[in-house]
């Protein structure tokens, strides 16, 4: 079986189309320019194998390359550093052939660098590690020659290819030369760049952000983009108002696309800013700790689900800028059942279910993320509903580093916790498989939810290559999870990417959130 044996022609075509659209209205531009992106969270490390979140995706996709890459919306997977990939019939062996590419220090990108990179991820046990754990064994990736890298999986995986973009290739020689006390170069790589990506790191300060210049020798070349950017800067600007004002003044050229709707309106009204609206894949929901009383009682979970004012939240607080999504999968992803009704704000039903609860009802703790007003507003709204049916609750608002630590601890996890689940790879497993598979409990399943029927569907879908079967399984799992009220599922996001009016060629993808800067140019 052979897949993806074309060169990235599709990618080029898409880029050309985007460019043409931009060029049609743009006057002849002066070359280059500097793009300043105001980033809401700080880059505390640049090591591409240490972090795996969407808030800090830009360092990974701009400084580094992977064998494959996700593009556009809806996202499609294309060969990137790889020229082609051969998959064996048993679905266990993936053979990638590399293109001619150079690292930023001029040395060639070789198959051994790829093998080193995946082994480094597996040994560091950080970032995207959980994607490969149990599927790729340490040392199992071989480089028979400089251009060929062979992955031999321990068990079949339907999602392996989708996760390959997270194997960011680092320069083995350079990283090894900067190792200290067998730390795999983590200390050095957190502040330096050993990549082959479109941009080369020039400055980094964890408190300020990072800057990079265009890498002329990048394998993809620059002929696709007229007047590509010379310099990019990702600057940490925590305060929303500073980001918005900076964008309106023209000091910043872009910021994240998930601002509060009130600010989006303000930006859209500014003549300096253009807001690009895209359907995204980022669900907002509340994790429920299914393993702890009284939430281990399905009737209590249903009472919670009926006590949240979905319409008030979506239509009023978010001004209708998002779409109701009653299941734990974005409704624009395949595998999401189309006809599910979901829960509504119905206090009578909530009371009925509460009356059936066998566990002792106690005061519950509602978790929210400090600095993310939306999670606090959602928690307050749920508290409002719970008050009316007689469930006591208190809200705890903590920063993301604190909350993400507690999420992994069965004792410390909040009763419910409101947050988002973004796209790391466009496959239903990114949501359902990680959030509700039994084997992910404590790692990415923070609900302590383990239902045999759901788990069987999910693990079959994870290993099967039969698309129809996978789709059917995910649809069924969605229904079961909704029926079980495993979480409070609220909405799927739209992305409102604000950019300076002179910015052209932004390519939005739910995985990179439009932050891959190699396609961008400025008038």
């Amino acid at each position: 079986m052979r897949l993806f044996d074309h060169s990235p022609r599709l990618v080029r075509l898409a880029a050309a189309a985007v460019l043409a659209a931009g060029a049609a209205v743009a006057a002849p531009a002066q070359a280059g320019g500097k793009f300043i992106f105001a980033n809401s969270s700080a880059y505390d490390t640049l090591d591409p194998h240490a972090i795996f979140d969407v808030g800090r995706v830009a360092s990974r996709i701009n400084l580094y390359d992977g064998l494959m890459r996700w593009f556009d919306n809806p996202p499609h997977l294309e060969p990137w550093l790889a020229e082609k990939v051969d998959i064996s019939d048993d679905g266990l062996t993936y053979t990638f052939t590399l293109r001619d590419a150079k690292f930023h220090d001029g040395s060639p990108v070789e198959a051994s660098d790829v093998a080193y990179s995946i082994d480094r991820i597996l040994e560091m046990k950080k970032g995207a590690y959980s994607l490969f754990e149990g599927t790729v064994a340490p040392g199992s990736t071989k480089a028979p020659d400089a251009k060929t890298v062979v992955f031999t999986l321990s068990k079949p995986s339907a999602i392996f290819l989708a996760t390959v973009p997270e194997i960011h290739v680092v320069n083995e020689e350079l990283v090894r030369a900067n190792e200290a006390d067998g730390d795999l170069g983590t200390a050095w790589l957190s502040k330096n760049d050993a990549g082959s990506g479109s941009f080369r790191l020039t400055r980094y300060d964890p408190a300020i952000g990072w800057q990079a210049t265009r890498f002329e020798d990048h394998f993809f070349g620059w002929d696709m983009v007229e007047d590509p950017l010379d310099t990019i800067e990702f600057r940490t600007v925590v305060e929303i108002n500073s980001r918005v004002l900076g964008l309106m003044n023209g000091d910043f050229h872009g910021t994240d696309g998930y601002l509060p709707q009130d600010q989006v309106k303000r930006l859209a009204a500014s003549e300096n800013v253009v807001v690009d609206e895209q359907e995204s894949m980022r669900i907002f929901y509340s994790i429920i700790h299914n393993g702890r009383p009284p939430m281990n009682d399905v009737n209590f979970r249903k009472a919670l689900s009926y006590s949240f004012d979905y319409d008030g939240f979506i239509d009023n607080i978010l001004s209708g800028s998002v779409a109701r999504d009653p299941v734990p999968l974005p409704n624009n992803m395949w595998g999401a059942p189309a006809d599910v009704e979901g829960y509504t704000y119905d206090l009578e039903k909530a009371k009925e279910h509460l009356a059936m609860v066998k566990e002792e009802v106690r005061e519950i703790t509602l978790g929210a993320l400090a600095g993310y007003g939306q999670t606090e507003q959602a928690a307050a709204l749920l508290q409002n509903g719970l008050n009316k049916i007689g469930i006591e609750s208190k809200i705890v608002s903590e920063t993301w580093p604190v909350a993400s630590g507690k999420m992994r601890d069965e004792e410390q996890m909040y009763d419910p916790l409101f947050l988002w689940k973004s796209t790391y790879y466009a496959d239903p497993n990114n949501w359902l498989g990680e959030m509700y598979a039994c084997e992910q409990i404590g790692a990415r399943n923070n609900s302590w939810y383990c239902n045999e029927e759901v788990d069987a569907l999910l693990s079959e879908a994870r290993t099967s290559t039969d698309q129809a079967l996978r789709k059917a399984n995910y649809e069924k799992a969605n229904r079961l999870l909704m029926e079980d009220a495993a979480g409070i599922f609220v909405y799927n996001t739209k992305w409102f990417g604000p950019f300076n009016k002179d910015v052209k060629g932004v390519r939005f993808s739910p995985i990179g959130n439009g932050q891959e800067m190699r396609w961008v140019s400025m008038d």
Partner: protein
């Protein structure tokens, strides 16, 4: 009673101090009568999303907030939180600081040195930084804000009482009572303490203003009582997202903090003028 009447008369004569006293009395009255004075008392815990971010009107004097609750009513209930934080935190600081200062000031031995060095250590760290560190470590709640403020404020009282005690010990009335065989505790409590009480009262009044400000800062940073508490600092933090459009949302709690802190400071300054003959103004006659 005579002293109290003297105080009242002096306060009434000093217009700025009288204004300060009026604000403080009003604040306490508002905090006590919040359920009666507020137009939407249920809005402390109840939300109406369709009515969010409405401008000031006859129904909502200071508009509504991000959850559609009445800002005016929430400010009134916020006064309760602010007052209880300030009163308890200052009370604890006084209870720790005054005995420490008295003992360290009265005795001249290694123990008194040790006590003062400990308070020096607390004073060496910027107060707000220490309070943030403590509140962050213990987690956001009213109790922890009180704890953080008390832990950082007591050295100010210890220092003050220590210095005043040292100078009081040179006074003849103290020497006389010691010569008559009074016990150290008797001297400290019956002779020293009453005579340094005026500076203590002034310090405490002005300290209230500072404490309220620090408590608001902690609330602003998310270290105070969690949502949906109507604490003033937290309300300002919440409102930032909606500036400048929803100007009333940040302005109302900001004004409340400003007024209250100014009230305590004016009152404190006025009391100092009245209680300390050295700084008493010539206009007082």
């Amino acid at each position: 009673m005579a002293t109290f009447r003297f105080l009242l008369r002096k306060l009434a004569a000093d217009r700025t101090a009288a204004l300060g006293a009026l604000i403080v009395v009003l604040l306490v009255a508002v905090a006590i009568a919040a359920p009666v004075l507020s137009t939407h008392p249920e809005d402390v815990t109840e939300f109406h999303p369709p009515e969010r971010l409405l401008g000031p009107s006859g129904d909502h004097y200071f508009g509504t907030d991000r959850m559609g609750s009445d800002v005016y009513s929430r400010i009134l209930f916020g006064a309760r939180i602010t007052i209880s934080i300030a009163v308890i935190a200052i009370g604890v600081s006084v209870l720790i600081g005054v005995p420490v200062g008295l003992v360290a000031g009265y005795y001249r031995n290694w123990a008194s040195d040790a006590l003062m060095r400990v308070s020096d250590i607390f004073l060496a760290v910027p107060q707000i930084v220490l309070a943030i560190a403590i509140a962050q470590t213990l987690g956001p709640s009213i109790e922890n804000v009180i704890l953080a403020l008390s832990a950082t404020y007591w050295p100010f009282w210890a220092r003050l009482v220590y210095a005043e005690t040292r100078s009081a010990l040179n006074e003849t009335y103290v020497e006389a009572s010691i010569a008559l065989g009074a016990s150290p505790w008797r001297v400290m409590l019956l002779h020293v303490l009453p005579n340094i009480s005026s500076s203590l009262i002034v310090r405490t009044t002005i300290g209230m203003g500072g404490t309220i400000l620090t408590a608001a800062v902690l609330g602003f940073l998310g270290l105070g009582p969690p949502a949906p508490s109507p604490e003033w600092g937290r309300t300002i933090a919440e409102s930032r997202e909606f500036l400048p459009e929803a100007w009333w949302y940040a302005t109302a709690p900001g004004l409340a903090i400003f007024l209250v802190v100014m009230g305590f400071n004016l009152l404190g300054d006025g009391l100092r003028d009245i209680l300390d003959p050295r700084t008493r103004r010539s206009t007082d006659g």
